[in-house]
């Protein structure tokens, strides 16, 4: 029986999103977690990716100009009344 090699750091960094999305196979998930458990550098890396995602989720995004918004609300009112 061929045992799959341990996951390398280089392989792990390609799989972070798959890991976080829960789309890794069970075997790869185990390899990923086994690697993380023994590698402080990859633990830092995973933490940073999570930090990026959390930060992006809290960025405010540009939106339409207030005047455009008012015009739209007026148009909605006009259309629906």
């Amino acid at each position: 029986m061929i045992r799959r090699r341990e996951m390398s750091c280089r392989e792990l960094v390609e799989l972070v999103t798959e890991y976080l999305e829960g789309t890794l196979s069970r075997r790869d998930r185990k390899r990923f977690e086994a690697h993380i458990a023994g590698c402080p550098h990859c633990t830092t890396y995973l933490h940073q990716m999570r930090e990026v995602i959390a930060t992006l989720g809290r960025l405010t995004v540009d939106s339409i100009a207030p005047r455009a918004r008012e015009e739209l609300l007026a148009a909605f009112k006009g259309w629906k009344s």
Binding site: E14, T17, T44, Y45, M49, G57, I64, A65, A75, F76
Partner: protein, 222 residues
């Protein structure tokens, strides 16, 4: 300013409730939709047209399309996806008029090799620790709050601006706007797998940009 999830906003009501409210002329429901989605819509529009001003017009036209079309909405996709598709149609038409049209499918193909981390950062495939870090990431000396303001924030925004359009759109919708993966894939008409690849590449580049900004790397002990 659009918030990620405005309280009492569009994101908290079911589609049938929202559609019924819109059809009955509920202004609050329409306003909450406009506030929740105009930001992401604007960013996507910007991909097709040459200026912020035209992107604003595209979003405006999209909302007019929503007003006119809501009575015909059949609920076969989510309301959000439906709105998004209207935008893509409007934006493509405008983009063609401006001769700057880039079909999304042509930029959304994630084939080709694009490593998440510079390969030089790793040891070779031989030796005791094959493909392990040679130049490892170190913790960013920054509380999360500080990533949201000042220079670090600019670094993040610039990194997103510099992404290829498909990567920029996926990370904008998934991580900035907080859409679920299935909806992003549907709206952009790409597979779930492609969506994940684009998202991963985009996130990796934002991380790399922050790492460069913090100078947070150190050689691993041999």
């Amino acid at each position: 300013m659009a918030e990620r999830d405005p309280s009492g906003g569009a994101a908290e009501r079911s589609d049938p409730e929202l559609v019924a409210a819109l059809r009955s002329g509920d202004e609050g429901a329409f306003a909450s939709l406009v506030d929740a989605y105009s930001g992401p819509l604007l960013r996507l529009a910007r991909m097709y047209v040459a200026s912020d001003a035209v992107a604003q017009e595209v979003v405006q036209e999209t909302w007019m399309g929503v007003i006119r079309g809501i009575d015909r909405f059949e609920g076969r996709s989510s309301l959000r996806t439906w709105i998004f598709r209207i935008l893509v149609n409007v934006a493509r038409t405008r983009g063609q008029r401006e001769a700057r049209s880039v079909p999304f499918s042509s930029v959304a193909d994630p084939s080709g090799d694009e490593p998440s981390v510079d390969p030089d950062r790793f040891l070779g495939p031989e030796g005791r620790h094959p493909n392990a870090w040679a130049l490892a990431p170190t913790q960013w000396e920054a509380p999360e709050e500080s990533l949201l303001s000042g220079e670090a924030r600019s670094v993040i925004l610039e990194a997103i601006q510099e992404l290829p359009p498909a990567q920029r759109e996926v990370i904008t919708l998934r991580d900035v706007a907080g859409w679920p993966s299935r909806e992003v894939a549907d709206a952009l008409e790409i597979s779930d797998g492609n969506q994940r690849v684009l998202l991963h590449r985009a996130r990796s580049k934002v991380r790399t940009a922050l790492e460069a900004y913090f100078g947070a790397v150190e050689p691993t002990a041999p």
